[in-house]
């Protein structure tokens, strides 16, 4: 019997015609990033929301500048600035309800601060006194995640668990363009879609993964297009348009909360500063490109809209700047204090109960500290 005959025997009747399981059209992103500011859609935006976004943008920009300055003073080991990307950061924080969860990457300090995290606590990781300077449950902000995209499956698992418990909690997970190449990105999106987990994935496409440009990162038409392969909607939004990012995220959050499952959003933005203070961005990009993006600054865009529509005046703008200065001064003051660390903390949180081996090492360190103390007197 030939192989073909065997197959014929195995399938006595022809298989049913293959049917596409989903029409991909509704899942596909628009060709161009969605915009609100400077368009007719802006008329429908809530003035109070726009003013709040503006205040947070100004505060965020100042935070980035202050933190970068602190690296020069040796107060921070490193700082990955989000200057130019503040609209994504702020919108991500403001769309979430209190019960929702935010899963930030290492660059998303501003999102955590805009969600209510103490600005000093947000910098603990980067100063080096502890890995996470806050209790994640307090504001429902997962630890700032340094490995790329590995926090995305956490967001899926948490959202899934919440739904199993009957809570209408949404998780918003943030990742950069480089992170979309990681395996965890794929696995997280696939799990989220299969489980219809209430998760929103926000990709901040800021053009570069350290030095590698998007064209060398992916051959996809856009990062938002990746969504269709998982069976979830992809949205493309202007990441420098705070009103647009807020609107698109809000819709995705509402969709997830209503049981509609996950959404992948690509916010097209630009990293004005280098990857971190330790990076030399002039090696991989030209000034003219940076200047083009400076002209599309998220704060300027929103300020223009607010001014044009008479929603803010010079006093209002100054008030936002003053508030940001107060925040910066407080941050400076706190960060210039030397943190008091307890070396015994090294052993405090490895296990719920230290192993006998750790107890021995704990005793060794305690003895060393006592000897140091004695030598000091």
């Amino acid at each position: 019997m030939t192989v073909m005959e065997q197959r014929g025997a195995y399938h006595p009747t022809p298989p049913p015609a293959w049917q596409p399981r989903t029409d991909p059209a509704p899942l596909l992103p628009d060709a161009l990033p969605y915009r609100v500011l400077g368009t007719d859609a802006a008329a429908g935006a809530d003035p109070a929301l726009l003013r709040r976004l503006y205040a947070e943008l100004v505060r965020g920009r100042r935070y980035n500048a202050q933190a970068t300055a602190l690296t020069k003073q040796g107060r921070l080991a490193v700082y990955p600035s989000s200057t130019g990307q503040e609209a994504c950061e702020v919108a991500a924080a403001l769309v979430l309800e209190e019960r929702d969860w935010l899963f930030p990457s290492y660059r998303d300090t501003l999102a955590a601060v805009a969600r209510g995290l103490d600005p000093v606590q947000a910098l603990t990781l980067l100063r080096g006194d502890w890995h996470t300077g806050y209790d994640p449950h307090e504001h429902r902000i997962a630890p700032l995640c340094t490995p790329l995209a590995t926090q995305l499956p956490h967001a899926v698992g948490l959202a899934h668990a919440a739904r199993l418990k009957g809570d209408d909690v949404v998780a918003l997970a943030m990742v950069g363009d480089g992170g979309t190449s990681e395996g965890d990105f794929h696995e997280a999106l696939n799990f989220a879609a299969v489980w219809q987990a209430p998760v929103v994935f926000l990709v901040q496409n800021n053009g570069f993964a350290i030095s590698v440009p998007l064209a060398k990162q992916t051959a996809a038409p856009s990062l938002a297009h990746k969504a269709v392969g998982y069976g979830m909607p992809g949205r493309l939004v202007d990441g420098n348009d705070a009103a647009a990012v807020h609107q698109v995220l809000s819709e995705a959050v509402a969709h997830a909360r209503a049981g509609g499952g996950p959404t992948l959003i690509e916010a097209v933005t630009y990293r004005i500063d280098a990857h971190t203070n330790a990076d030399d961005a002039t090696r991989y990009r030209g000034d003219s490109e940076v200047e083009t993006w400076r002209a599309h600054d998220p704060i300027a865009l929103l300020e223009h809209e607010l001014t044009e529509r008479g929603l803010i005046d010079e006093d209002g703008i100054q008030a936002a700047r003053d508030a940001a200065e107060v925040m910066a001064a407080e941050l400076r003051e706190h960060m210039n204090q030397d943190p008091v660390l307890d070396p015994m903390d090294l052993f405090a949180h490895v296990y719920a109960e230290p192993t006998p081996q750790l107890r021995e090492q704990e005793a060794l360190l305690r003895a060393e500290l006592a000897a140091e103390q004695e030598g000091a007197h």
């Binding site: 502890w130 890995h131 996470t132 209790d135 994640p136 449950h137 997962a142 630890p143 490995p147 590995t150 995305l152 499956p153 956490h154 967001a155 899926v156 698992g157 948490l158 959202a159 899934h160 668990a161 919440a162 199993l164 418990k165 998780a171 395996g183 965890d184 696995e187 997280a188 696939n190 799990f191 299969v194 903390d345 405090a348 949180h349 490895v350 296990y351 719920a352 192993t355 006998p356 081996q357």
Partner: protein
């Protein structure tokens, strides 16, 4: 709840019973992995659980180990106690980043605010004629990662007790299941009241005076067999079953070696950089003045796990163990 089980039960049945009892006792316990639902796992360890507890608690996941463990992290963040299955030892490697970068250190990173009560079941080791990637002993990798507990049962009773203890632990536990012992039976009676003691205690499986065989998991029955065979040589060998590689029970091990004055560490995984080196060092540090000979290791060769038709040459067997015991006598004879 009634339990219908064969008497005596197999290790696989004891594991199933442990999962069922843990899920009954605590609604936060969720079982997840590839094929754990309808199929009941390729080794049938999760047999019947999906039927009893439903798909929400016994979940067939997409085939993606990093995703399985990564989503379990998020579930643990929200108060669940996931028990994940990595289908075979070498299939767990894609999940290593989640394990090492997140599972193992989330408690530490968050100063205790986010414990990770996840049990990671990994069928491991050789001796079942598995093809490539189905027989690795990866315990050294897990042992080298602070924040993880690493346990491995060798008896049916321990399979039950250690799995219950692992699931109850507020810390992540890598639960290594010796594949070739899945169908081993002993006198464990599933209807008897079960004891669950804290993990981290080794046990003397067979008392003896001539030397101590320090071992765990799949090598425990081999060492017991070697001890019986050693009687013909006039050796009365003590066998210590570690049960827990992290934390390590220095006391039980050192007490045994001090009694016997000689020790051989036996395991399947490679010797170089393997658990035996760590164990030998610990024993030497604690028992130097009691030792009559250097601590020897009988391990798998330092090779990728061999094809099944050659694995019997790789796995530590009775002869190789007794040969090592013979070499321990050098000082007494010289």
């Amino acid at each position: 709840m009634t339990t219908v089980a064969l008497k005596p039960a197999t290790m696989a049945q004891a594991l199933t019973r442990a999962l069922r009892d843990a899920m009954t006792a605590d609604p936060a316990v969720h079982v997840m992995g590839e094929d754990v639902g309808t199929l009941g796992g390729v080794f049938r360890v999760t047999d019947g659980l999906a039927e009893q507890f439903g798909e929400d608690r016994v979940t067939d996941t997409p085939l993606a180990e990093a995703g399985i463990l990564g989503t379990a992290v998020g579930m643990a963040m929200y108060g669940l106690r996931p028990v994940v299955e990595m289908q075979f030892d070498a299939f767990a490697y894609p999940a290593f980043e989640q394990l090492i970068s997140h599972v193992a250190r989330m408690r530490n990173r968050t100063r205790g605010a986010m414990p990770m009560p996840i049990t990671i079941r990994v069928p491991y080791g050789g001796g079942i004629g598995g093809v490539e990637h189905h027989s690795d002993s990866s315990e050294a990798y897990y042992m080298a990662t602070p924040g993880l507990h690493v346990v491995t049962p060798a008896t049916v009773a321990d399979a039950y007790g250690l799995l219950r203890a692992s699931i109850a632990s507020d810390d992540p536990v890598v639960f290594l299941e010796p594949k070739r012992l899945y169908w081993s039976k002993d006198t464990w009676n599933p209807d008897d009241p079960q004891t669950v003691e804290p993990i981290g205690r080794a046990v003397v499986r067979r008392p003896g005076r001539s030397a101590t065989l320090i071992t765990y998991g799949p090598s425990v029955p081999v060492c017991l067999e070697a001890a019986e065979a050693g009687l013909a040589e006039g050796w009365d060998l003590e066998v210590v079953d570690l049960r827990s590689l992290v934390p390590f029970d220095d006391e039980t091990v050192a007490a045994s070696v001090r009694r016997t004055g000689r020790a051989v560490v036996v395991h399947e995984s490679g010797g170089y950089g393997g658990p035996g080196g760590e164990i030998a060092a610990r024993v030497t540090e604690r028992c130097f003045h009691h030792l009559e000979a250097p601590v020897l290791r009988v391990a798998g060769f330092d090779i990728p796990y061999p094809p099944p038709m050659l694995e019997r040459h790789h796995l530590p067997g009775v002869d190789r163990i007794l040969d090592a015991v013979g070499r321990l006598q050098w000082e007494a004879e010289s």
